[in-house]
Structures are given as C-alpha cells and as structure tokens.
Amino acid sequence: MTSTTASGADFPADSVGLVTPQTLQFDQSLALECGSQLNRWQLMVETYGELNADASNAVLICHALSGHHHAAGYHSPEDRKPGWWDNYIGPGKPIDTNRFYVVSLNNLGGCHGSTGPSSNNPETGQPYGPDFPVLTVADWVDSQALLADRLGIQQWAAVVGGSLGGMQVLEWSLRYPKRLRHAVIIASTSKLTAQNIAFNEVARQAIRTDPDFHGGRYQEHNTIPRYGLRLARMVGHITYLSEHSMGEKFGRDLRKDQLNYGYDVDFEVESYLRYQGDTFSESFDANTYLLMTKALDYFDPAADYQGNLPQALAKAECRFLVVSFTTDWRFSPRRSEELVDALTAAQKRVSYARIKSQHGHDAFLIPDERYQAVFSAYMQRAADELTPSEVK
C-alpha cells in the first residue's frame, strides 16, 4: 500500500511528491473508554515511503488538535501548500522516507474523512452530531493499533507526534509497550494544566453558545456555528504563538495608515486573527473541535496511579526522545521536563532537548536548525537499528 508516485518534477526534491489518501473500513467493534462502542468505522490514511520485507521500518505520525492525515507531500500539482509536517517528513528529512515507511491518519472523531461527528450514523442514517461518543487518547491509540494490524505492522520503529499527538505517543508506550521501539514526544505533556484546560473551556463555550450551534445538531439546520468556531480558533491561535513571534510578525502595524476610532480592524494582528478564524470556521467541524479538546483535557496516564507518573511509566519498554521549545507557553518546557524526570525516575531510556525558538507552541511545525539536527540524529539512530537487509 503505497500512495506516493514518483512523478512531479514540480515538487521539491526533498518532498514525498504527489500523495493520495485512502479510506480504510473497519467492521470490527471498537470499545471506547466512555463505555460506548463503534461497530463500523473508517480511517482516512496516507502513507509515504515503502514498507520493508519484515515490516520493521514503519513510523506512525499522530496529529494534534486541528491536524489530519495529510502530513506530507501534495494532493495535486496545483496545491499551494504541502502537508502540515512536510518540513519534517520526506527524503533526507528527519523522518526520512528513504528509510522509513510513514503512516499518517486522521484520528477517529476527526472531520477529514475518518468517522466522526459529521459522519452518518449507520444506525440512523443521520449525522452523529452531538451523539458521537466522546473519545479519549486511549481510544485513538486502540484504533491506531487496529490500523497497524491491518497494515501488517506488528511493531512500529517509532511513534511520533507533537502536542496532542505527543500524548498519543506516550499512551502508545504504555498501552502497547511491545508494539513500538521509539517514542518521540514533541512539545507535549503527560497532562494539561488548569490554565490549559481553561483555554479549552473558553473555546468550547464560544462554540456551544453560538446560536447556530443548535445543541450540536447544526447540520440538520443546514448551518454551522461559524462565529463560535472562529472565536475558538482565535483564542487558540494566540496561545500557539509567543509574545515575541506576534511582535515580530505584526508589532503595532496598522491595516490602514490611520486609526478608525471604531471597532473595525485597526491593527494587522486583528486582521490576521479574523482571517485565521474565518478560514478555520469554514473548514473544521465544531463537534470535532469539542471532542478533540475534551480528549486533551482528560489525558492523564498517572490518574490510575494516584498521580504517580513514574509508576504509570513503569510498563514502557521503548526508548524516548522528548523535545520542548523555550517560548512555548501552551505546552511549556516545564511540562516536558516533568515527563523526562518521571521517565528517569522510572529508569527508562530517554533523551531530552530544549530547543531555543521564538515561535511558541507552533515551533514544532516550523523549520529550525537545531530541532532538525536533534530529530534527525534520533531518527537516523532508529533507522540504523534496522538490519541492512531490512533497509531498502
């Protein structure tokens, strides 16, 4: 199953080029943490590179809050932008598609082709809407394990993710300790802080109090809670940037060379946020946004161990790379260091780098020399463990 074609002289040399997502159907029931279950569901998946003979070179990419399966390459020669993590996935890039077979999916509950609140409920023929079960990080990992089974992957060479994606990676290491050799956890945390949950609650309230939300049944009313989603995204976006990066990008620049003395856009930053909010509200499903923020809030693998994280980590068997960014205040270096401290206390193999960056939480998506060097060094090491005959 390869979706990369070698065509496209138009694409950069270090790009995976043209990729085609595919839908995988699952008719096996998936028991969910909330007590409910999904009987028939589908995942939207993209793959890059080639699986080797003994299926030992597979890398799973776990996406963040607003992410999806399209992590690298282009869907058409006309695409203006490549996938969301194209800076880090491709030939010769940290996740080197010359050596690894990369699997990227849209998580269950998503709105980019995998079964989610906007999909039709097979029982009713109507969109699930608010009836779609609240999923957890563990549920996602379970569904990803069934995806691995389907692809014939017994053990991932590495599971990799940033932010909410990093939580899935951590959950993988505890839920299926024998099914991965390396865990790469970037700009993430083992649990959200009160401040972080608070930001999510503001986003949820913005959506749920939009008159067009209709208790989550907006599809039935042929509308979307545009203003709520827009506001949710605007708040979120501010927290993904740093004070410095916003200052650099916009400063106090005015949209027109004078003040309006009114409530229309005066400053460039306002215009930018409105634009971001508008684009997002047209392309992202509100119920999915609610579900993803809840999954973030609920994640806490130490909860079953009276908050003792080292004890919770005892069952992990893989090696870990943890990376944080200095100006990230949504998932601050302190949170990564708590995880690293727990991993060392549990005597797990771990390396940690704290990357100096001006880009806040978004730094995990942006090119950075040192981040690339650390990430590449770790992944090359993981690739070198594959025996020569295994490497294509």
Binding site: R319, T344, A345, S351, A353, V374, Y378, R381
Partner: protein, 196 residues
C-alpha cells in the same frame, strides 16, 4: 584508550546506575556502557554535544548544572560523575553536596591550579597562568573557580566527605613518581572517588 576513562571504568561497579554531569559528547558513558554495562544518563547544555550524544545512542538530558539536581531523588544513582567541569560551576561546595545526595558515590576530575608550571607562570610573569589544562585568558575562561588538590581535599575534610580513591597524573593521566610524591606540585589533573 584515554587513561582517565580506564581509571573511572575501574572505579564504577558493573551494571551500576550512573549520572554523568556535563557528559560532553558521551564518550565516557559510551565507554562505561560497553565496558561495564552501566545504565544512566548524561546531563549537558551544549547543543552540539547533545546532538552527538543522541546520534551515538547515549541517553542525554539537556540540563544546566548550576540549577542543581533537584529533579533527581536522594540515593537514586550508584555513582554520579563529573569530569573536567567542577571548575566551571558557580558553587562547587553545593555541587558536591548535590552529587553525594543523588549518588551513593561520586567521581570528580579537575585540573590542578597549583601545578608547578602554573606557580612559575604567576611567580615570574606576574600574570594569571595559561596552560594546556587551563588554556584560557582570565577574561574569557569558563573556569570561574580554579581548584588545587589541596583546596579540594580541605573542602572534603570540612564537609566530612570521604576520599575513597585518588589518581593524579599529567594530562594523559600517566603516572609519575614526582606526581605521587608531591601531587599538588607535579600533578596536572586528578580523579577523586568520594562518598559521604
């Protein structure tokens, strides 16, 4: 093989759990891992050295030693090692306390400021010594707290720290009868194994 690595490897128990403070490019940990099957981590702040450790498969954690070892529990390591870094720290007394809180034993190495060449340099030129173990000028040196063997041993005595072993030699840790007889005068570098 580097003589200091051989001496340290001799002093570390097989399969010990070790913490290497200012681990550099991971050479010592790699050596201990292959020779003595030790497990543990290196702490480092230099970005390039961290990347080198990672590419060699050495577990390295980015951490500034001047902020202490608060994130490590009491007695959580068999041996805490610090090679050629004691003199760059702000408070060596506190660093030793921390090393012996976290580790049951510690191994430290540092250059001797009382070596005869340093003494002659200061005595005759009237300027701060620049030598092969301390190759910096006074204004750009990272070695902000220079140490002599005697000073170090006096600090250990004050703190009730036991010196379990000491190896003194030139830069290559080659043993010499003069360094054995008058270590503080003829020893360029020393390795100490200490405990509470």
């Amino acid at each position: 093989m580097r003589q200091d690595l051989a001496i340290i490897a001799n002093w570390v128990k097989p399969s010990a759990h070790v913490l290497d403070l200012a681990c550099g490019d991971g050479t010592l940990l790699l050596h201990l891992e292959t020779q003595k099957q030790v497990k543990g981590y290196g702490l480092e702040i230099d970005p390039e050295k961290i990347t080198t450790c990672i590419s060699r498969g050495v577990d390295v954690i980015e951490q500034d030693l001047n902020r202490g070892l608060k994130n490590f529990a009491d007695d959580s390591y068999d041996t805490v090692i610090m090679t050629q870094a004691l003199q760059v720290l702000r408070r060596q007394d506190l660093a030793l306390d921390e090393m012996l809180r976290v580790g049951r034993e510690a191994i430290v190495t540092f250059p001797n400021f009382a070596h005869w060449r340093c003494r002659l340099f200061l005595a005759f030129r009237g300027r701060l010594p620049v030598s092969r173990t301390l190759p910096y000028q006074w204004y750009n040196t990272p070695n902000i707290h220079l140490i002599t063997f005697k000073d170090f041993e006096a600090l250990c005595a004050d703190k009730g720290i036991k010196i379990l072993d000491r190896a003194v030699g030139n830069l290559a840790y080659e043993d010499h009868w003069k360094a054995r007889l008058w270590p503080n005068l003829f020893g360029e570098v020393a390795i100490y194994r200490i405990s509470r």
